[in-house]
């Protein structure tokens, strides 16, 4: 029995570091919501909009963690009766900021990958803006599509 107990302790020591490094959490917080848009009138939401911008939150195991952020972005929003409306994302339509008081926001292009090192907080928020371009005869109704943010720890 003494021998068995010793083996259990060894297994626990090996397992803990692996579990800590895999503790990566990514959560969608708020939709990118353009609200009411008018036929024929393009609408822009900056990533700094406190209400309309999309928001994600991610948490890493600790300071010094390196992450790569990549978005899967739609090119259109889908609406009633099969209608679709173009959506696009430009440079600086993404904004990341750690949760520590000293953290400053960083703008980046959501169409590509961005790499960060967590230096003052293990977690951060990421906001997303964009633009839609309804046609003059765009069908009235609600349009939507999914935005995915993937965070990779390496």
């Amino acid at each position: 029995m003494m021998l068995t107990r010793g083996l259990v302790l060894a297994a626990l020591v090996i397992a803990v570091p692996g579990e800590a490094s895999a503790q990566l959490i990514v959560t969608g917080i708020r939709n990118l919501d353009f609200g009411v848009v008018l036929q024929g009138v393009a609408s822009v939401v900056p990533p700094t909009d406190p209400v309309k911008s999309g928001q994600f939150y991610f948490r890493t195991p600790g300071l010094g963690t390196r992450v790569r952020i990549r978005f899967t972005l739609p090119t259109q929003l889908n609406g009633p009766g099969g209608a679709s409306m173009p959506i696009s994302f430009a440079n600086n339509d993404a904004r990341a900021q750690g949760t520590a008081p000293a953290s400053l926001p960083i703008l980046f292009n959501p169409n590509g990958a961005a790499v960060f090192t967590m230096t003052t907080s293990p977690d951060a928020n990421v906001w997303l803006g964009g633009r839609v371009a309804p046609a003059a005869a765009q069908a009235v109704g609600t349009y939507s599509n999914t935005v995915i943010m993937t965070v990779t720890m390496f």
Binding site: F34, R66, G98, V115, S121, A139, Y143, V147, I148, V151
Partner: protein, 171 residues
């Protein structure tokens, strides 16, 4: 250049270093937009008190034939807020004021009629939520306004005018 500010932008890919993925996960949100037709508001009828007598207030109710009227079109059945900018005086060509107040209003979603079926606006100073009606596939809204003018006993004789502004906003 590495910037240590909560997050820092790295250039690992450009250094050509091999990277080992420790963990990866994703989160989702939706991108949403609600398309609406543009709102058009036209002046349907002025609020015309006609002849008023010095010292004698004159009132036109929002349900009266002489009430002012706005004619609006938009997306059928869409939610819309009604707001007004109302003058407190009518003014003649010589900058004399004729007080106006005690505003009243009502709206009709089916016809340009205020003698019946016109829904009263509780507060002309606030925001009134309502919807466009659906009249043969067109979003329609008729809004009527009334008020009271109070000429002084020595009110300068003349013609007094003011502007009533109605704003409709989808929500």
């Amino acid at each position: 250049m590495r910037v240590h500010l909560g997050l820092s932008a790295g250039l690992v890919a450009s250094l050509g270093l091999a990277t080992t993925v420790i963990a990866q996960t994703s989160g989702n949100i939706n991108a949403i937009a609600r398309v609406r037709q543009p709102i058009n508001v036209a002046a349907g009828q002025d609020l015309d008190f006609g002849i008023v007598i010095q010292g004698t207030p004159a009132t036109i109710a929002s349900t009266a034939a002489a009430a002012g009227r706005f004619d609006a079109t938009g997306t059928p059945n869409a939610n819309v807020n009604i707001n007004f900018t109302l003058p407190s005086n009518l003014i003649d060509g010589a900058a004399n004021n004729l007080p106006i107040g005690t505003w009243s209003g009502c709206f009709n979603q089916t016809a340009a009629v205020n003698s019946s079926g016109c829904t009263a606006i509780a507060s002309m100073a606030g925001t009134t939520p309502t919807t466009f009606g659906n009249v043969a596939g067109t979003g329609r809204l008729w809004v009527f306004v009334g008020a009271t003018v109070s000429p002084a006993a020595a009110q300068v004789v003349g013609t007094y005018n003011g502007t009533v502004t109605m704003t409709l906003t989808y929500f």
